[in-house]
Amino acid sequence: MSVGGTPRRIDSEGKVTGVTEYPADRIPPDALVAKVVFTNQAHARLTSLDVRAAEVTPGVVAVFTAPDVPVNVYGLTLPDQPVFVGTSHTGRTDVPCDVSRWEADHLALVVAETAHAADQAAAAIVATWEPLPVLGDIDEAMAPGAPLLHPENGLGHNVYTTYNIRKGDMAAGWAAAAAVVEATYEVPYQEHAYLQPEAGMAYIDDHGRVTVEIAGQWTHEDREQIAHALDLPEDEIRVIYPAIGGAFGGREDTSLQIVLALAAWRLHQRGEHRPVGCVWSREESIVGHHKRHRGRIQARWGADAEGRITAVESEAWLDAGGYNYTSNKVLGNLHLGQGGPYEVPNAQVTSHAVYTNAVPGGAFRGFGGPQSAYVAECQMNKLAEALGLDPVEIRRRNVLRDGSIGITQTPMPDGVTIAQVVEACAAAASTPPPASPSEPFTPFATLGPAAGDLRRGRGFACAFKNVGFSFGFPERCEAEIVLHGAVGDDAPHGADLFHAGADVGQGAHTVFTQMAAEALGLPIERVHGHFSDTAITGDSGSASASRLTWMAGNAILGAAEEADKAWRNGDRPAVGKFRYVPPPTEALDPETGVCTPNFSYGYVAQAVELTVDTGTGHIRVDRVVSTHDVGRAINPDLVVAQIEGGVVQAHGYVLSEDLQVRDARIQTPRLSTYLIPGIGDGPTVIEPLILELADPIGPWGARGMAEMPMMTYAPAVVAALHDATGVWFDAFPLTPSRVLARLNESGRP
């Protein structure tokens, strides 16, 4: 059995021995060096740009600017961003390209023989700027009279996407409420901090295709965006992903794809055929790519005396930054989550995305879900407190079940298992952990606590998260299988699998191979995968939305069936191609939000135990029970790895990561000032608890699960901290400084 087992990862040997090539390793020694010159202007109009001195700097081969780009605009879900800010362009976009709306907007790409020459040339570029008022945050962007960052959209304000939900009768909902809880929550940025900063190279391949080797999350989407900007047919562009050093949503949008392709293409036209490579530093990476959205959510929830939700009124604002990236899609997800995984009879929910001059918000594990789950679960825990109910019991009375009507007024897809997940998590959390954490509270070397300052607490939270693209976004996944054998053979002796899906480190290619082997009845060693190259693989959709195993599995099942037909038909080799399309979804109705938002969900619950040192504000998470319905664990070890990795990433988000942004500029562009958790910081015990309650339409019953560990950690930790101190935290990260300040301000404990 290949499915349900844990074979050795197909990439393990290369990664352990160092043979595996990541994008920067692929750049040959004779490649030209490219440097992206940022505008370094949060908001300003470019009045002149002179690159003549840069062009004649010794060692410089070319300097590319806006007029070199045929269509000087791009964007994954909304083309609103110039490839280069420039004083002139080819005129084929409505987006004014002479304005820098973000400090990391691109001004030019310098291509040189050496990094030093590229640096010198970058410094020789002369740009003059007319400063414009900087909109540092959503309050400034929404203030009356604020300048419009994207006047081309014709809206007349910076709030550029708004979604609604209007369900039931709010007055009746409040009238039926025995308790009402209300708060304004602030959620912070998060940096992806993948191991591998952005890097890539571009060249013209043997077939004359403009080829980019880079780390991304969706080869075919990268290809589409490059083709759009270069105004070339897609089949003249090729995108290849070598090994990828983490992504987490941070590579969902393009980074160097377009500018590298542009450079190779333009240089080729000038008779220069060397490849062009670029490797960003950590600072360039942190300043130069999007973040998990910061935002504000005002929530007011009511419940009757039995704890049943009677009304949810909630309004959210996400800071989209200077450009949309995927904000309009992230916002949809956040919107859907504002009522939690509950039956909500009456709801008035509104969500907005707001342009500012800060770093763009975009995709990050959970895709808007962690922000709304934090609010929904804090609200639920506050209702439980107000009504004197146990946090598990109040959830039992409210969670969605099979046949439930969701907040967008359509039935949930079959296989709603959150009730079972909540029960399993609560049961596991109420028994002592297998090996009790025997270590004393010593996270800070010599900083032994005074016993009288320690408080312990427990917290609980649950959530759901869509699997696959939502709200009518075109969803599909292709796979191709080629079976090999002689004409008289009963069964094939081997197979090739072609799939574009990105292995960002999560083990996707191992899982694809397992699923193909299972579908074909072949041993896993007989399946040879060919991955993530648009020249040989069909469109897979992205490595995001917890969708890749789910979608690829269904595509592989289809391709295996087609290949089998061809085999029985006598074809040698026998080729099976399949494009899987899941049940359709719909966009939100603009007024009421009525729609079928998703075709599948994953369910999660977490119970947290922690200790807080009230003298210093330090929090130690002693134990997390992270409970997931994964439908079917195709590869149980990889599922556990996703849970453990996700919990630690969530731990950083909630406890230590604190991106400092001032006047729309990132002040902490280094890992010495932006503190991701170290080995000493994570929870003492992480207990992954895996349920396998089949998704009726998942491959082998599997559900997506990779984002789920991120969803509930913030509210579970906040609930435990409240249990320990009696104080609610409506904002995080819970750094010692904030914990201490808030405890002091509330006069507790």
Partner: protein
């Protein structure tokens, strides 16, 4: 980074005469290289002290220890004699940076490292300390900045943990100058707030080289450090407490001022050598006397009182 020459001079005694404002000494390089990369420093040349015979020994001397300037933090951390006899120093170094950095970082370099204020370290900003005008931290993000002596031009904190321990221990440095002169200087006098004319945190001249650090014994001493994460973070607040050979208790905080900050109010509140629970309570309460926090760092006050309390309890 701008290009520079790399020089090796075998005799340490010959180094000071070679130094100028643009020819600088290089020890472990763990701080200097980050400054070069950020273009905070643009020397014409670096003289690699590691290529010279500058001191690397840890020697027992009358009443304490003498550490060569090139002694690394990890050697101090693992030295049984220092751990037993000057625990405040051993504890401070073992909580500084990471094992890899400690293998490289020297004790002299540690005292002379520059502040971690993120405006100062940001090549896109030129604040007063970096030679420009104005202090963006004062009105900006100052969660990690000073709470004492905040009237000066700069509110960055001194980043060193060992420095606070060494001041509490009453340590001195030996300095050799370009004319061949040698002088002894208390660490407390080496580190001073920057001024308009001298925008660094120490009093050394361009041609001064630290050759050794001398540390008096204090087996009853400790250094406590609060960080944003368990390891590899600079101090939010640190407190060194040391009981000297003649019974005097010295309390010095890190993370609260331009230099290691002597908690004079707390020391006075102890009123006598007996570290009774009541005296410790009084001293902890007085630890923040005279503090003037900025908008975002008021939390440092309760933190400082807590650490002072625990440090005194530890050495009582």
């Amino acid at each position: 980074m701008t290009p520079f020459d790399y020089q090796r001079i075998p005799e340490a005694a010959a180094v000071p005469a070679q130094l100028t404002p643009t020819v600088r000494p290089l020890a472990g390089g763990t701080d200097l290289l980050t400054r070069l990369k950020a273009c905070l420093d643009r020397p014409d040349a670096l003289v690699d002290l590691k290529a010279s015979d500058l001191g690397r020994a840890i020697d027992r001397v009358d009443g304490g220890w003498r550490l060569g300037a090139l002694v690394t933090l990890s050697r101090i951390q693992h030295h049984p004699g220092l751990r037993a006899d000057v625990p405040a120093l051993a504890e401070a170094v073992s909580q500084a940076a990471t094992p890899q950095l400690r293998n490289r970082a020297t004790i002299a370099g540690n005292l002379l490292q520059r502040p971690r204020c993120w405006y100062f370290r940001n090549e896109r900003v030129q604040c007063w300390l970096a030679g420009g005008e104005g202090c963006p931290a004062r009105s900006g993000r100052n969660e990690h900045h000073a709470v004492f002596d905040t009237d000066g031009p700069c509110v960055a904190t001194h980043p060193s943990d060992p420095a606070a321990a060494l001041v509490a221990l009453g340590a001195t440095v030996t300095v050799l100058d370009g004319g061949g002169g040698e002088r002894e200087l208390a660490v407390a006098d080496l580190l001073v707030p920057p001024t308009d004319e001298r925008r660094v945190e120490h009093v050394l001249a361009a041609d001064d080289v630290i050759t050794a650090v001398t540390v008096p014994s204090a087996p009853r001493s400790t250094y406590l450090k609060a960080m944003d994460r368990a390891v590899w973070a600079f101090a939010l607040v640190g407190v060194a407490a040391a009981v000297s050979a003649d019974g005097e208790v010295r309390l010095v905080a890190s993370g609260v001022a331009n230099t290691p900050w002597r908690l004079a109010g707390a020391e006075a509140a102890l009123a006598g050598p007996g570290l009774t629970p009541e005296a410790i309570d009084r001293a902890a309460a007085a630890a923040t006397d005279g503090a003037a926090p900025l908008a975002e760092n008021g939390y440092k006050l309760p933190l400082l009182r807590t650490l002072t309390h625990r440090a005194l309890t530890a050495v009582a």
